[in-house]
């Protein structure tokens, strides 16, 4: 039995927080925030009895009063470990706040409009209001509502139409809490103009041993014939939590490829909605989740085929060791108009310990008749025939297992188009495998 949660105390806590932070504000954005908070208060936190939250123990983020934080002192990020800091244009956020000292936008084209939301909220709240009110559909997700009420940072990226060269941007969100139970509500608003291409690397890096909660909402619109490739890397600490809600809207003939790599984290829950709104759109949805210790990683994806002639391909793979637990819930909806849809979904899981667990649940809801849809799911251990084959060539058991596990992950990692990004992720994943017994 999951421990019962006193929801009313939690909602009261967030109401008090809201008064503290926004009690004196008004305007359309504040009204929108307040409406979201009221909805959150009415629904409360989800319970594991609700279909969308089944099998997930929300204890780590619902049993504590998470508190929003002020901007960090500069010395907080003087000694950060930048092992994985990439080279190309980057924006670095520490504890939710944009830090110019660590960022480098010198190589970014002037045509790209990019701003931190903290800055925009201060200088031009109407622009933020316009973006969130226009973009964001009514959400029923309590954490999405909580984010709407509280978000105070993140990034807004606007690519104009018809850029000749693809634009690559790295977003690095470093979380190093200064006390227990801090919450960071981040919101990223991305618009890719017709015919332009954005390659985004979104990295979450947790540091330290304190308990925290990142609540991230990302809204992406890919206009006609535009392209979007996103590699999201979640490397939270064993006591860090992340809930993320991503909505990816695609217009006619647009393409998207997103990869979510989740490694570590006390509780990681990703909601990803891919909405194919314009004919001829194609979306690739890939994921790799790596869990050990008591990590809980939950991926809920929904691919919504709304119009005809769209295609989607989904590949999620998980590797779970020790007491880790994963949930994969992949839903594909083909709406009545969406004839000639082609959608396929694969979920594969590798369990490296007797105690690791996975719940996998593919769901197809098909309301059109001329469609091709497939799904498949497997869960297993390392194959003993393969292990013997490798050993019979002189390779030790440990090395053979490492080869096989890396090979299992590679199928997903090889989908990354950009060489430098692929190398970055492969190195991070290799380090994850090597650090097996380091953190415990």
């Amino acid at each position: 039995m999951a421990k019962s949660i006193d929801t009313s105390a939690i909602t009261k806590h967030y109401q008090r927080e809201f008064e503290r932070l926004h009690g004196n504000s008004n305007g359309s954005l504040t009204a929108w925030r307040r409406a979201a908070l009221d909805q959150f208060s009415a629904s409360g936190l989800p319970s594991s009895k609700q279909e969308d939250w089944r099998n997930l123990n929300l204890g780590p983020i619902s049993g504590e009063y998470f508190v929003a934080t002020p901007a960090p002192e500069l010395d907080l990020f003087n000694n950060l470990d930048f092992k994985y800091l990439p080279r190309t244009p980057r924006l670095v956020f520490v504890n939710g706040y944009f830090t110019a000292e660590l960022s480098d936008l010198s190589q970014l084209s002037d045509e790209v409009k990019i701003n931190s939301l903290t800055y925009l909220l201060k200088t031009d709240p109407k622009q933020v209001a316009k973006a969130v009110l226009g973009n964001t559909p009514e959400s029923t997700n309590p954490f999405d509502r909580l984010n709407a009420a509280f978000f105070n940072s993140g990034v807004k990226i606007d690519l104009p139409a018809r850029l000749i060269d693809p634009v690559t941007i790295q977003l690095i969100f470093i979380t190093r809490p200064t006390s227990d139970n801090q919450v960071f509500h981040l919101r990223n608003l991305i618009n890719i103009g017709s015919g332009s291409q954005l390659n985004l690397v979104e990295q979450y890096i947790g540091l330290g041993e304190l308990n925290y909660f990142n609540n991230v909402v990302t809204d992406v619109v890919v206009e006609e014939n535009g392209g979007f490739e996103c590699t999201k890397i979640q490397a939270e600490t064993p006591s860090g939590n992340q809930l993320s809600n991503t909505i990816l809207n695609q217009q006619t003939d647009s393409r998207s490829k997103s990869l979510t790599v989740s490694m570590s984290g006390k509780l990681v829950r990703n909601n990803l909605l891919l909405a194919l709104r314009g004919e001829g759109a194609h979306g690739d949805l890939n994921g790799l989740y790596l869990g050990r210790h008591n990590n809980v990683i939950d991926n809920h994806t929904l691919i919504d085929h709304i119009v005809p002639n769209c295609t989607s391909a989904e590949l999620y793979k998980g590797i779970l060791d020790e007491n880790a637990q994963a949930i994969f819930n992949g839903k594909i909806i083909v709406q009545p108009d969406a004839q000639k849809t082609n959608a396929n979904q694969i979920n594969r899981n590798l369990l490296l310990s007797d105690k690791a667990r996975v719940h996998t649940n593919p769901q197809l809801e098909i309301d059109a008749d001329d469609v091709k849809c497939s799904h498949g799911s497997t869960t297993g251990e390392l194959d003993s025939d393969t292990l013997f084959y490798l050993r019979s060539r002189g390779i030790s058991t440990a090395e053979a297992q490492a080869l096989m596990v890396n090979g299992f992950a590679n199928e997903v990692l090889e989908t990354i188009s950009d060489d430098a990004t692929r190398e970055l992720v492969i190195n991070m994943v290799s380090d994850w495998f090597i650090n097996k017994s380091e953190i415990s």
Partner: protein, 250 residues
């Protein structure tokens, strides 16, 4: 080099091998022929150290030491290679990377320096020509999408790269067309030398037309019932195994 004495092997209490005696000396090529289910593959699996077999009696010695005490990887490093009847597909693991990992694991075992990537690439590029596989096979995942013949040639590539003292080929000829069969046989023939032994396990004598076996053994129901020279294979080709069943029943 290898000496098998009165070997009895069971799988889950069912006796599969019922007293095998076999001795292979450096330079010799032995062939074991027999129907499906006669125990041929069990013998090659036991020599290479696969799990799941219980040795109830007998011994295998390798240059005087007890082979059965060694792990599969140590047997490989000691110079025993098995070409698989059904080579496994390993998605996501690059063939070149796998070959290099195996090659360097064996170098380490012998206390030799490992080859770096550049040196290994030039080595493997000369080897792959011998089995007539395109270099692109090195960049693919191990056996992934390979045809039956390509998988078997990839086994031979591993053999000539790892340079074992004893090569066991378990039904390497099964499922091969005549061209692929010739390439495999040629790979073996070019690889023969006075220091190296071979154990070729086969259902049909066809592959033996392209090789020059020193000794042929016929296995029926877990026992070697007849041993002889080349002519034995030809007789089996003409008359089948039936005339030997009586000998097996004794």
């Amino acid at each position: 080099m290898i000496e098998i004495k009165d070997l009895h092997v069971s799988i889950e209490d069912k006796e599969i091998l019922k007293g095998i005696n076999l001795s292979i000396k450096p330079g010799e090529l032995h062939a074991i022929m027999g129907r499906n289910g006669s125990g041929k593959s069990t013998l090659s699996n036991v020599i290479s150290g696969r799990d799941g077999y219980t040795i109830t009696k007998g011994s295998i010695t390798w240059y005087g030491q007890d082979l059965l005490k060694l792990s599969p990887e140590d047997r490989a490093c000691e110079g025993i290679f098995m070409g698989f009847q059904y080579p496994v597909v390993i998605p996501g693991v690059n063939n070149m990377y796998f070959l290099k990992a195996a090659y360097n694991a064996q170098r380490r075992y012998k206390g030799e320096e490992e080859l770096d990537s550049m040196d290994f690439i030039s080595l493997i590029k000369t080897k792959i020509k011998e089995v007539k596989l395109d270099e692109s096979f090195l960049q693919r995942a191990v056996n992934d999408g390979f045809s039956g013949g390509e998988k078997k040639r990839n086994e031979i590539l591993q053999m000539i790269t790892l340079e074992p003292k004893l090569a066991i080929l378990d039904e390497t000829d099964s499922g091969l067309d005549i061209d692929a069969l010739k390439i495999v046989a040629e790979g073996v023939n070019n690889f023969r030398n006075p220091q190296r032994g071979f154990l070729v396990i086969t259902h049909y004598q066809r592959i033996l037309n392209y090789m020059d076996p020193d000794r042929i053994h016929v296995m029926i129901d877990g026992k070697i019932v007849k041993s002889g020279g080349r002519n034995l294979a030809l007789k089996l080709e003409q008359q089948g195994y039936g005339w030997l069943d009586e000998a097996a029943a004794v």
